[in-house]
């Protein structure tokens, strides 16, 4: 049993430590390739370092996120971090919170995407207020958009979008009827801390 625990602890250590080593390794590779005049290899190593750095930022953000969102628990296995590393869509991550009563919240963050900067302008448009199922909200000091949907079976779902800088936080709530419950859950997300890490 002790052996299994040790293996698990070491595995977790390597899971978190590996990206840090990867960034440093890629930076070292880039330095030596550049000093030897191999520009293409230097570029590749630097792009890899950028990719690994995005993943490291993603993991830091996941650590900042709460383990519980109201009465919903997060599922460790569903955590996902990735990076397209292409300038127009950078880091993206997701976490799922759920319970046994088929209630869930899927949180997604797309970071470092210049295309998202324009969504702030959309939020400022007054026309948004005319849709009764759409409203502007404020979470942790950030303006956002909340949209309610209901299917033919009467199941309610909510889509919350909160842009910050060139990043976008999206939370899709399912099976939760009360808006207050949604807002309480959203207010437990430390957006300011996440923004500080990304921007």
């Amino acid at each position: 049993m002790k052996k299994i625990l040790t293996i698990i602890v070491y595995s977790l250590f390597f899971f978190f430590a590996a990206p840090a080593q990867e960034v440093e390794k890629n930076l070292n590779d880039a330095r030596s390739a550049y000093s030897s005049g191999d520009l293409e290899a230097a570029r590749f190593a630097l792009q890899q370092a950028m990719y690994e750095l995005d993943l490291a930022i993603g993991r830091e953000i996941l650590q900042l996120l709460p383990e519980r969102l109201g009465y919903l628990n997060y599922s460790d296995a569903d955590d996902m971090v990735g990076s397209v590393n292409m300038g127009f869509v950078g880091l993206h991550l997701s976490r799922t919170y759920q319970n046994d009563e088929k209630q869930s919240a899927e949180l997604q963050i797309i970071a470092d995407s210049p295309l998202l900067a324009g969504i702030n302008a959309i939020l400022a448009l007054p026309v948004i207020g005319r849709d009764p199922n759409q409203k502007r909200i404020r979470v942790d000091g950030y303006r956002g958009l909340l949209q309610k949907s209901e299917n033919a079976q009467g199941d309610v779902s909510w889509d919350m979008q909160i842009p910050f800088g060139s990043s976008l936080l999206t939370v899709n709530f399912h099976g939760i009827n009360e808006e207050n419950a949604i807002m309480d859950m959203a207010n437990s997300i430390p957006i300011q801390q996440i923004a500080r890490l990304i921007q």
Partner: protein, 257 residues
């Protein structure tokens, strides 16, 4: 009698008014008048421009809020080795934003060097057209979306050659897309487009009556060579110019396989 005189007079008037000679003379006089007016206006405007004093210019600039002095931003290529060092220390201090910025600088610095190397390998003149000094351009977002874009322009008289070399990432998608599109067009009877082999590479050449000839050659894993020729007399003349560029040399400078 009176009526006859009136009719003769009326027909004579019509004859004089609508006869081709009189009509064309009138048109010529009108045109001459318009040209003279246009010329006078140009002279007047030119005269007004030179008569402006420095004080008047300053006043006008103040009023219009227009910039009228020389200036610009200082442009320096990033120091790649220093940027890598900054990225390392920022990363170890968990300053991820700082690390990212330094990495972008380093990537840009390396891409700028790659671009300059490629430009140095291109010929200075092609089929009598000289490269336009100051028109060389290396562009990159520092990341893979746009990738690296290297441009050079050659000119002589009314002829122009524009070379664009794209490298890395998304441009590969464009190249693949182009080849797929090309396949579709190859089946049509479009006579201004054809598929060719260019220096052992699959390529296509296109003719447009407004923009002239263009040649696109995707090569390596993620690169494309595009050549546009304006006012070339024939396809052969354009291809002779194109053949003065060596894809394999460009490929080697880009570190492509």
């Amino acid at each position: 009698m009176k009526r006859i005189v009136f009719l003769i007079g009326f027909f004579a008037f019509l004859q004089l008014t609508f006869s081709p000679e009189v009509f064309s003379q009138g048109r010529f006089i009108r045109r001459l008048q318009e040209e003279a007016e246009k010329k006078a206006a140009e002279e007047l405007l030119r005269g007004l421009g030179t008569e402006k004093s420095e004080e008047e210019k300053r006043e006008e600039s103040r009023r219009m809020g227009a910039h009228n002095r020389e200036g610009g931003l200082s442009v320096e290529a990033p120091d790649v080795a220093a940027s890598i060092g900054v990225a390392e220390s920022a990363y170890s201090g968990k300053d991820f934003r700082g690390a990212k910025m330094a990495l972008r600088d380093a990537i840009w610095g390396v891409e700028l060097e790659i671009g300059q190397n490629v430009l140095a390998s291109l010929p200075e003149s092609v089929s009598g057209l000289r490269s336009v000094s100051g028109a060389d351009n290396v562009t990159s977002t520092g990341m893979g979306f746009v990738g690296l874009l290297i441009e050079r322009i050659y000119e002589a008289d009314d002829m122009q050659l524009q070379v664009s070399i794209g490298n890395d990432a998304a441009i590969l998608g464009v190249a693949s897309l182009m080849m797929t599109g090309e396949f579709a067009r190859q089946q049509s009877d479009d006579t201004n487009y054809k598929r060719i082999r260019f220096q052992e590479h699959q390529a296509h050449i296109e003719y447009d009556e407004y923009s002239g000839y263009s040649l696109a050659v995707p090569f390596g894993q993620s690169s494309i060579f595009v050549l546009k020729g304006v006012n070339f007399g024939s396809e052969q003349e354009f291809m002779a110019a194109a053949n003065q560029f060596t894809i394999n040399t460009i490929k080697q400078k880009l570190g492509e396989k």
